[in-house]
Amino acid sequence: MQIADWIESEILNGHFENDGKVYSQYQLAEMYTINPATAAKGLNLLVDENILYKKRGLGMFVSGDAKEIIINKRKNQTLKRLVRELVLEANRLQISEIELIEMIKMANNQEAEQ
C-alpha cells in the first residue's frame, strides 16, 4: 500500500502537522493516477491504525499522536525485519556476533558525523 507508506513518511517529515487536513482520496488519485477507491483504502488503513481520523464531510485529519504511532510501528515492524535479514546475511557469511556489533557501531559513528 504505497499510499499509506507515503502519507506516513510525509507526516514524519512534518509536511502534515497534527490535526492538519490530509489529501482527499480524489486528490491522491489525481496525483498518483490510481483509482480513488484504492486511495481511499490506503487512507482507511491509516484510520484503522488511528494515524488519521475522519471528520464527516470534511475529510481526513492527522491525529494528535500520529507521529509516535508511526515511529513505533516502523520500529517493531520494518526495523525488526531489517535486523533479522542482517543477522541472516551475517550467518551466511559466517560473521561472528562481535564482528557484526562492531560493524553496526562503525556505521552508527559515520552516521553521527554527518
Partner: protein, 300 residues
C-alpha cells in the same frame, strides 16, 4: 445499484461453448478490469452486454433491462474497440459532431481538446488512420461520450507507450470528474492495475474470480528457497506456479493464507517471501500448465 448482472450466461458458437454459465455483477461507477487470455470470451461477453449479440442461455441485465436490441441500453452505453466503424464519407471533425447529436452527455469541449492534443487532422478520414491513431480516436469518442456505461475492449492496441499513458491519465481524470461505470478489457493488466477498482478474471468462459485490486495484490504469495523447505511449507496447498533455479532452489506461488508466525518461521529458515504482482498472478491462474512456457521446453 447494479449496472450489470449476469446469471448463468452461456454463449455457444457452432457447438463451441464460449461462455459457460458465467455469473457476476458490476456495481455502478466502478472501473472494472476484464482480464483473460485471447479467445477466452471477453469480447463475446462485452458484445452481449452492449446488446450486439444474443446470449444462448442464461440472463443478462444492463440497467436492469435485457440489452439485446434495447434502445435505452444503447443510449446509455458505448462500446469502444478497434472494429468501431464510421462511414467513410464523413471526415473526423464531423464524426465528433455526429457523436454529439447521439450522446446526451457528450462533452464537445473535451472532445475538441483531446482531438487537438493528439493532433488529428479534422479533414482526414477514419479509414485512413493508422492502427494507433484509430484506437486513439475511438478512445476520444468513448471518453467524451460520458456514457453511464463505457466499455473499452482492448482500447490500447497499436498505441505507443506515451499515448497509452496519456489515455490512462485522461480516463482517470475524467472518471474522477464524472464518475461512471467503466469496463476495461485488456491484456496489459500491469499497466492498468492502478486504474482498476475491481478485476474480473475469465478462464474458459467461466468466472475465475472477481475481487478488488487491493485484495488481489495480497491474494497470493511467492516463496523462494531450497526445494524441500519450500515444498514442505506448501504441501497440501495448490501450487499455482513453480520455477526451478540453480541446483535445488525453487520459486513457488501459492494462495496466501499463512499466519504471520508461519511466515516468520519460513524467513528464519531462509525462504524469501515476496508479494505477487496481480498481472503475474492472473497469468499463473489462467495458464494451462503450472510451469508456464518452460514446461514446453523441459518436457523431454
Amino acid at each position: 445499484m447494479r449496472v450489470i448482472e449476469c446469471t448463468d450466461l452461456t454463449k455457444t458458437y457452432l457447438r463451441k461453448i464460449v461462455l459457460d454459465k458465467l455469473s457476476f455483477s458490476i456495481e455502478e461507477n466502478k472501473i472494472t478490469g476484464l482480464i483473460g487470455r485471447n479467445g477466452v470470451g471477453k469480447t463475446t461477453l462485452l458484445k452481449i452486454i452492449a446488446g450486439f449479440i444474443k446470449e444462448t442461455s442464461g440472463q443478462v441485465k444492463v440497467f436492469s433491462e435485457r440489452p439485446y436490441n434495447n434502445l435505452n441500453v444503447s443510449l446509455n452505453s458505448i462500446f469502444v474497440d478497434d472494429q468501431m466503424s464510421f462511414p467513410p464519407a464523413i471526415p473526423l471533425s464531423e464524426i465528433l459532431t455526429v457523436a454529439g447529436n447521439f450522446y446526451p452527455n457528450w462533452d464537445r469541449e473535451l472532445a475538441k481538446r483531446l482531438f487537438d492534443y493528439f493532433s488529428f487532422d479534422p479533414k482526414s478520414y477514419h479509414n485512413r488512420l493508422s492502427k494507433g491513431k484509430t484506437s486513439t480516436f475511438n478512445m476520444i469518442i468513448g471518453l467524451a461520450s460520458r456514457c453511464p456505461l463505457t466499455i473499452f475492449d482492448e482500447p490500447t492496441t497499436g498505441m505507443d507507450a506515451a499515448v497509452r499513458k496519456d489515455f490512462y491519465r485522461a480516463l482517470l481524470k475524467d472518471y474522477i470528474a464524472y464518475p461512471r461505470t467503466i469496463i476495461l478489457s485488456s491484456h496489459h493488466l500491469d499497466e492498468i492495475e492502478d486504474l482498476l477498482e475491481d478485476v474480473l478474471l475469465i478462464k474458459d468462459g467461466k468466472k475465475q474470480f472477481q475481487m478488488s485490486i487491493s485484495e488481489l495484490k495480497e491474494w497470493a504469495i511467492g516463496l523462494k528457497g531450497t526445494t524441500e523447505e519450500v515444498l514442505n511449507l506448501t504441501d497440501g496447498k495448490e501450487i499455482l506456479f513453480k520455477e526451478y533455479f540453480g541446483v535445488n532452489t525453487i520459486y513457488a506461488v501459492v494462495k496466501n493464507d499463512f499466519s504471520e508466525f508461519l511466515l516468520n518461521k519460513a524467513r528464519l529458515v531462509g525462504v524469501e517471501i515476496s508479494s505477487v504482482q496481480p498481472s503475474d498472478l492472473c497469468v499463473y491462474l489462467t495458464s494451462e500448465t503450472k510451469g508456464g512456457i518452460d514446461d514446453v521446453f523441459n518436457k523431454h
